[in-house]
Point group: C2
Chain length 228, copies 2
Amino acid sequence: MLMHKSGDIATTKPVVPIPSGMPEVDALADAFAVMGAVMRFEHNSEIFGEGEPADYFYRVVKGAVRTYKLLNDGRRQISAFHMAGDIFGLEAGAEHRFTADAIADTTVLVIKRSTLMALAARDSDIASGLWTQATGDLLRAQDHMLLLGRKNAHERVASFLLEMAERSAGLQSVELPMSRQDIADYLGLTIETVSRTLTLLESEAAIELPTSRRILLRDPAALRRLNA
Amino acid sequence: MLMHKSGDIATTKPVVPIPSGMPEVDALADAFAVMGAVMRFEHNSEIFGEGEPADYFYRVVKGAVRTYKLLNDGRRQISAFHMAGDIFGLEAGAEHRFTADAIADTTVLVIKRSTLMALAARDSDIASGLWTQATGDLLRAQDHMLLLGRKNAHERVASFLLEMAERSAGLQSVELPMSRQDIADYLGLTIETVSRTLTLLESEAAIELPTSRRILLRDPAALRRLNA
DNA sequence: CGGGATATTGATTGATTTCAATGTGAGTGG
DNA sequence: CCACTCACATTGAAATCAATCAATATCCCG
């Protein structure tokens, strides 16, 4: 069932060195490194779709992934962006509850759900890694609910920029892997509002926009103040 | 309970056939029943606060609980309502990431986090129960993000009513345990908008409001259509 | 019956969306 | 190298949905 649109490539599993040196031992990451198959997805291609069997778990090696849900009329809510090192695709049920696709050309490690679950039953480090992952996802989802339910556009964009800055480890300059439409669908706004708000933040000297994908945080404290 | 479709995933142990139509064995619920301490909280009292040590897990026996986050200026986002049978307070980290309080006079079972984690390390049914709980919470959080990010007031209220109806098992009549303010803070709206929208739904003959806490779903299909 | 909290309804404002151009930048082919 | 294109982003003007401000109305409980 590894029939994906554009992926489905190198499936003999060479052990790929894990990028992003994690400080602590991560049994889950190890499992991916040892047992995972490498797959590549090109920009905008679907990794899995809502409703498909959730037979695999994924770990981003390179690139970026968005996971989202759609309403029947096409409105989209991106629930998370997944960058290098992130795990996604975990499900309780048999089916994926959201769609995942590659924002940029992306490499992922894939591991069979059944394999990982079997491992978890024997290895409590794996089980606890899964637990940490799931509750961490939940934590982020709860923060995001607060943003979507209660923050205004200004605050949403500020929160987003700070989140991206933290995740790229460099607090000075951020290279965004996603389009304005993706940002809008993550923040529950329109592209126009995102664009206007970025311009506003620039006029407030909080940020600078050398290009549309690169953002310099000139005054992170100002952004943090907006973070409420 | 890792519910899979027919010939799905091979789990480590043989799957015990479950009597049809009967509730399945819930190791987590059992653990609470056997090892949990009973605690009572009266209407509007706090069960735990954001930032406090997360040393206990909870299961609602009677009553209802809201879990939420606050912004510094008091804006509140309720992330979930927990009714009889529901488990809440699970955390990956050492501290609670949200506040929980009793919506009505409420009885809960409390179990020490360390106790449950130790149990989980030995009993894979417990571990899998925790897993199911966490991913189930995540699933609901994702659906709620879609609601908060992309649905209009009409759709939010309709979704809410359907959710409550499902959870009270009776699709005809729903007794709401929470106030309009709670509903508003769950749906990311104001009390006025919730109130107006309910009135509107009544005028559309989709629902009836005998009292402010009791709602009759006259035309669930109409609500489902709004659910997008 | 009175009083306080909760809910509904009304009038108005305002933030964000929608509709509509215009601008920009990367890639292509002449 | 430049003109062209196409996708993406920004900016402007108008419309709209929900919030806010402001009265009532209703319920619950003494």
